[in-house]
Amino acid sequence: MIAVPTQPAQGVQAGPPQGLAVADVHLRGVVSVLPSRRLDNADFETQFGRDGVADVVKMIGVETRYWVENGQTASDLCFLAAQRLLARLEWPPDSIDALIFVSQTPDQRLPATACVLHGRLGLSTRCQAFDVGLGCSGYVYGLWLASLLIQGGCGRVLLLAGETSSRLIDPNDRATALLFGDAGTASALERSRGAPPIHFVLGTDGAGAGNLIVSGGGFRTPCDDARRPEGLAEEHLFMDGGEVFSFTLRAVPKLVLETLANAGLERGSLDALLLHQANRFMLRHIAKKLGLPEARAPINIDRYGNTSSASIPLLMTTDLAERLMTEPMRVMAVGFGVGYSWGAALMALDPLACAETLAA
């Protein structure tokens, strides 16, 4: 039994008494696409030295990651993923009622990248398309929105989540340069009468906004970035790793337990806890604190790095692909980080028609 604080931890509010839940929605398939450029840790040794790399790797646990080439975007990866997914499910493009693109690295400031993707995929003009600018928590928010759209009358929703964080990092910042990977994903959700409710817990703590931020590129000029270290450009990512880590330890175990409680379930009934792949040390710590063996809290950050909103679907199409396609699974997707923003979705999944990872 792990200790549960009787008071809500700082920055974490209790959810609505009944919790949030949406029924009659099924996840049908997930496809992930990785860029073709693979970087090993040895590729960073010239920059940071062998010991410098080893120190960080011991903590973050990333051995390899995939980065886009110049000119390749998150939407390019998501486009390939979506194309493949539609083909595998045999869903005609005009059967899609909504497209959601979750990313912090869109193609341009306007129009919404979702509209461009809509055009590339040849979807119907009756299909709605919009962007969601969230990162680590973004996939769970995407599941929530897709489920609500279906509850509101949509039949089929494409949820595209992708990020090219490699384009945001300062190559001289050891803390972030080794951590992040790029990936694009597509998930297909469909109305399905009788599907059991998906339970959601979602939250935000804007007081943490400055701890993980790219302050440049928006319209607040000069940008509001008093904490940006000397030498870090405003278009590069600033991360206060210690603060983000403390936030995660405060928020995530509580989030998992609250979501289980809303669904009236015990930890033992989870087949897999799909944690956003933030940092291996942190993931192991959370799993241990929740009393879950690593087999039920899978980790793939060693191979792909932290891919932000793509990390949960990427976990599904790599380590869990075979099981997800062959057996029903009760899983909880848990996203947390930049914002601070967090969310959990507890789903009873039927076997997926498709769960695969492709190279771009």
């Binding site: 120190d55 903590m59 603060e243 403390s246 040390f281």
Partner: protein, 74 residues
């Protein structure tokens, strides 16, 4: 205290016998990685969450222990 001292020894990659309240953190690479590891260690040993910024100000193991007591009292 021994699990905590063992954990600290692991973080600093030294023998556990070397850890005492007087142990000088700053002289032993008390960087952000060590601080993050210590946050996790304290959570594990005492089920208490201390702030990274407060840990960063600690100079000795005794300072860290004082911080844990403070967190326990809160």
């Amino acid at each position: 205290m021994s699990a905590f001292y063992d954990g600290l020894a692991e973080i600093f990659e030294i023998d556990a016998d070397n850890i005492s309240p007087e142990f000088d953190l700053v002289a032993h690479n008390w960087d952000s990685l060590a601080i993050v590891s210590t946050i996790a260690l304290i959570d594990e040993c005492y089920d208490k969450l201390v702030e990274g910024s407060a840990l960063a100000k600690c100079v000795t193991v005794a300072d860290v222990e004082a911080l844990i007591h403070l967190a326990a009292a809160a």
